[in-house]
C-alpha cells in the first residue's frame, strides 16, 4: 500500500508525523483513501489491538477514521471525534492535486477524566463478551489524558503540519474554512433576526447600508465585514428560497460599496473598471452561498480602493491597518495620538508623520471622520439628543461636534437628522 503515496510525498509526511509525535507524544497515523493505515508513529495501544480483535471483521475503526477524515476535508480544517472505541482522535485530510489521498489521524487520547462507562457501552453496542470487560478497562486506563482546551491546540498543530504536506492545496482548505466561517456568521445574524419578536414584518435595514458605506469610506474592513454579514443574514432570512431576489440584493450591495469607494476618494475610472469585472463574475455565479463568499472579496477590494494605502511596504501597511483598527474600536473614548502611537510601538512624532504619509490624512482628521460616520446612526434614533451623541462619540462638546460634522457633510447634524427621519 506504500506506493499509494509517491516517495517524496511520503518523506515529507513521515518527517512531519515524527515532528508531531516527538512534540506531543500523541500517536499519529497516516491512512489512505480507504481508511487503511499506511504508516504510524508511536506504538499501537493494547486497548486498540484488543478492541479490533474483539470486533474482528466487523471492526468499525477504519471506517470511522475515514469518515472523520472526509469531514475534515469538507470543513477545510482538522476534525476532532470520538472513535468507535470511545477514544478521542483528531484528523486532518491530505489533499494532493485536488484529490483526497488520505489523512493524518492523531490519537488515541482521553479528554478530561477516565470514563468507566465507555467500556460498558462498548460491550452493549458491539456484543463484546462480558469477560473482556476487565482487560479492556485496564488497557483503557493507560491511554493518555489531555485536557479539552489543549486538544484544540493539538488539532491546530495537526492542521499546520498537514498544510505543510499539501503545499499549494492549503489555499483550497483555507477557502473551505473561510466558507464555513462566513456561513456561521451569516447564520448567527439570521438567528438574531429570528429572535426578534416582530421579525416577519421587519423592513430592509437601509440604515445598515449607510453604515456599510461609512466603514468602506474610512477603510474599516473588519467593521464593514460585520455589517455586510448582518445585511446578508437579513437578505437570506427574508428571501431564502428565492434565488433571483437574493442575487439582486447582493448585486445592489456591490453598487453601494462601489459608490462608497468613489466617495471615499477612490479613483473613479479604476472603480468603474472593477465594477464591470465584478458584474461579469456575479452573473456567472449561480449559487447564493458562493455569491456570499464572493461579495466579501468585493468588499475587500472596494475598501482598499476607497482608503488607499501606500502598498509598497507590507510592514508599513500592517502598522497602519493596526492603527486604523485601534481607532475604529476606540473612537468613542478620549483617545490621543500618543495612545495610538504606543499601540503600534512608534514614537508619537514619528507616528504622526508616518500616518499622514501613508493615508494622506492627519490622525485627528481620520479620528473625526470615524466619529462623524459613527454618529450618523445615532442621529437616526430620536431618543438621543445631539449633545448626548457628541459626548458618546468622544467629542468634547456639541458645538465642536457640529462644526466637525458640517465640515465633512456640509450640513449640520440637526439637518441631517431631519433629512433622514
Amino acid at each position: 500500500m506504500l506506493d499509494f503515496f509517491q516517495d517524496d510525498e511520503l518523506d515529507i509526511i513521515k518527517k512531519n508525523m515524527e515532528l508531531f509525535y516527538k512534540i506531543t507524544e500523541v500517536n499519529c497515523m497516516l491512512i489512505d483513501d480507504t481508511g487503511n493505515t499506511v504508516f504510524s508513529q508511536g506504538e499501537m495501544f493494547n486497548y486498540c489491538t484488543k478492541f479490533m480483535e474483539l470486533t474482528g471483521d466487523k471492526s468499525p475503526c477504519c471506517g470511522a477514521h475515514l469518515y472523520a477524515s472526509k469531514q475534515s476535508e469538507l470543513l477545510g480544517e482538522s476534525y476532532i471525534f470520538f472513535c468507535p472505541g470511545g477514544l478521542v482522535h483528531i484528523t486532518c485530510a491530505i489533499i494532493i492535486g485536488n484529490v483526497f489521498r488520505g489523512a493524518l489521524v492523531a490519537g488515541p487520547i482521553q479528554m478530561n477524566i477516565t470514563d468507566p462507562y465507555v467500556i460498558d457501552n462498548l460491550i452493549k453496542v458491539y456484543n463484546i463478551p462480558i469477560s473482556a470487560r476487565g482487560i479492556l478497562q485496564s488497557y483503557y486506563k493507560i491511554i493518555p489524558i489531555i485536557a479539552p482546551e489543549k486538544v484544540r491546540y493539538l488539532a491546530n498543530l495537526l492542521s499546520i503540519i498537514t498544510k505543510d504536506i499539501v503545499g499549494d492545496q492549503k489555499y483550497e482548505l483555507k477557502k473551505k474554512k473561510d466558507f464555513y466561517l462566513e456561513q456561521k456568521i451569516i447564520n448567527e445574524n439570521i438567528q438574531e433576526i429570528k429572535e426578534e419578536n416582530n421579525f416577519t414584518s421587519k423592513a430592509y435595514p437601509i440604515e445598515l447600508e449607510r453604515e456599510l458605506s461609512g466603514k468602506v469610506r474610512r477603510g474599516d474592513l473588519e467593521g464593514a465585514k460585520a455589517i455586510l454579514n448582518e445585511l446578508l443574514g437579513y437578505i437570506l432570512f427574508k428571501h431564502s428560497g428565492n434565488n433571483d431576489k437574493v442575487i439582486s440584493f447582493i448585486i445592489e450591495l456591490v453598487v453601494v460599496m462601489s459608490r462608497a469607494a468613489v466617495e471615499g476618494g477612490g479613483n473613479f475610472e479604476e472603480i468603474f473598471e472593477q465594477n464591470i469585472k465584478f458584474y461579469k463574475t456575479a452573473f456567472s455565479i449561480h449559487n447564493v452561498e458562493e455569491l456570499c463568499v464572493w461579495i466579501v472579496k468585493v468588499l475587500e477590494k472596494f475598501t482598499e480602493l476607497a482608503f488607499k494605502l501606500n502598498k509598497d511596504n507590507v510592514e508599513n501597511t500592517n502598522v497602519i491597518k493596526k492603527a486604523l483598527q485601534y481607532i475604529n474600536n476606540n473612537y468613542n473614548k478620549n483617545i490621543s495620538l500618543d495612545e495610538v502611537a504606543k499601540h503600534v510601538n512608534l514614537s508619537p512624532t514619528y507616528f504622526s508623520r508616518f500616518f499622514s504619509k501613508e493615508t494622506n490624512m492627519k490622525f485627528s482628521e481620520y479620528l473625526n471622520m470615524v466619529r462623524v460616520e459613527e454618529s450618523k446612526k445615532y442621529l437616526l434614533d430620536l431618543k438621543y439628543s445631539i449633545s448626548d451623541i457628541a459626548v458618546m462619540m468622544g467629542f468634547s462638546d456639541q458645538s465642536y461636534y457640529t462644526k466637525v460634522f458640517k465640515n465633512y457633510e456640509n450640513i449640520s447634524p440637526g439637518k441631517y437628522r431631519k433629512m433622514y427621519n
Binding site: Q71, L74, L75, I80, F81, F82, V88, M111, N112, I113, D115, P116, Y117, P148, E149, V151, R152, A155, Y180, Q183, I186, N187, E188, I190, Q191, K194, E195, T200, L236, F237, K238, H239, S240, G241, N242, N287, V288, E289, C292
Partner: protein, 213 residues
C-alpha cells in the same frame, strides 16, 4: 434547598460524566421527575451551545459535554418509554446531507423523546433517498430535518420532492429547522412546520399528532 439539578447542569457543561451519572441516579432516588432532569440536561446543552457560538468553548468541550449528557440520558430513557404502545407518535429525524452538526437535532430529539414520542434518529449527513427509505421502513407520523448551512438547505427541498414522487407525502408531516431556516423557506419548499427552537418544535409536534387523532 436541594442542589442536585444545578449540579447536574454544571457537571454536564464540564463533561464530568462520572459525577453526572451519580447525580442523575441520586436525583431519581430523591424523587425528581425524569422530565425535570431532562429539562436540566437540555438547558445545560443549550448553555454549551450558546458558549460555543460565542467562542467561549470549542469543539472538544462540546464533545465531552454531549457525552456526559448522553450518559444521563441513558439512565432516564427507560423511564421515558416504559411501554411501546403508549407512544404519542413516531418521528424520523436527521441532519441533511452535507451537514455535520447535530447539536440542534439532538436537542429536538431529546425534547420529543421527553414528550413521549418514539424517535428514530438517522444521524447526520442524510441524503433524500435515506430519508425516504426510513419513511418507508418506519412509517412515521412526522419527518424532521435539520440543516445548519445555507448550502445544505436544498437537500430539504429535494427530500420533500422525492417523498412526493414516491407517494409518501400525504400522510406525513414535514418539520424543518436549523440556523439558516426561516418560515418563508419552509413555505417555499412545501414543508408543514418550521420551528425556531427545540422546545417549540416538540410542542408543535404534540399538537399535530393530537389533532390528527
Amino acid at each position: 434547598m436541594d442542589n442536585t439539578l444545578n449540579e447536574i447542569s454544571k457537571y454536564v457543561q464540564e463533561g464530568q460524566s462520572i459525577k453526572v451519572r451519580k447525580l442523575t441516579i441520586s436525583a431519581l432516588e430523591k424523587g425528581y421527575d425524569y422530565k425535570q432532569i431532562l429539562n436540566t440536561l437540555i438547558d445545560a446543552m443549550d448553555i454549551i451551545g450558546k458558549k460555543f457560538k460565542k467562542n467561549e468553548v470549542y469543539v472538544p468541550e462540546v464533545l465531552i459535554a454531549s457525552r456526559a449528557f448522553n450518559i444521563a440520558l441513558d439512565i432516564i430513557s427507560p423511564l421515558i418509554d416504559p411501554n411501546v404502545t403508549n407512544y404519542l407518535g413516531k418521528v424520523v429525524i436527521g441532519t441533511v446531507q452535507g451537514d455535520l452538526h447535530d447539536i440542534g437535532k439532538n436537542l429536538v430529539k431529546m425534547m420529543l423523546v421527553g414528550m413521549g414520542f418514539q424517535v428514530i434518529d438517522l444521524g447526520v449527513d442524510i441524503s433524500p433517498q435515506e430519508f425516504v427509505d426510513a419513511v418507508k421502513k418506519h412509517d412515521p407520523d412526522i419527518i424532521a430535518m435539520s440543516a445548519l448551512l445555507t448550502t445544505t438547505m436544498i437537500t430539504m427541498k429535494n427530500t420533500i420532492k422525492l417523498l412526493e414522487e414516491e407517494g409518501l407525502r400525504d400522510n406525513l408531516t414535514v418539520f424543518i429547522g436549523g440556523a439558516p431556516i426561516t418560515s418563508n423557506y419552509a413555505r417555499t419548499i412545501g414543508a408543514d412546520v418550521y420551528s425556531t427552537d427545540a422546545a417549540s418544535a416538540a410542542e408543535v409536534a404534540k399538537e399535530i399528532v393530537r389533532n390528527n387523532i
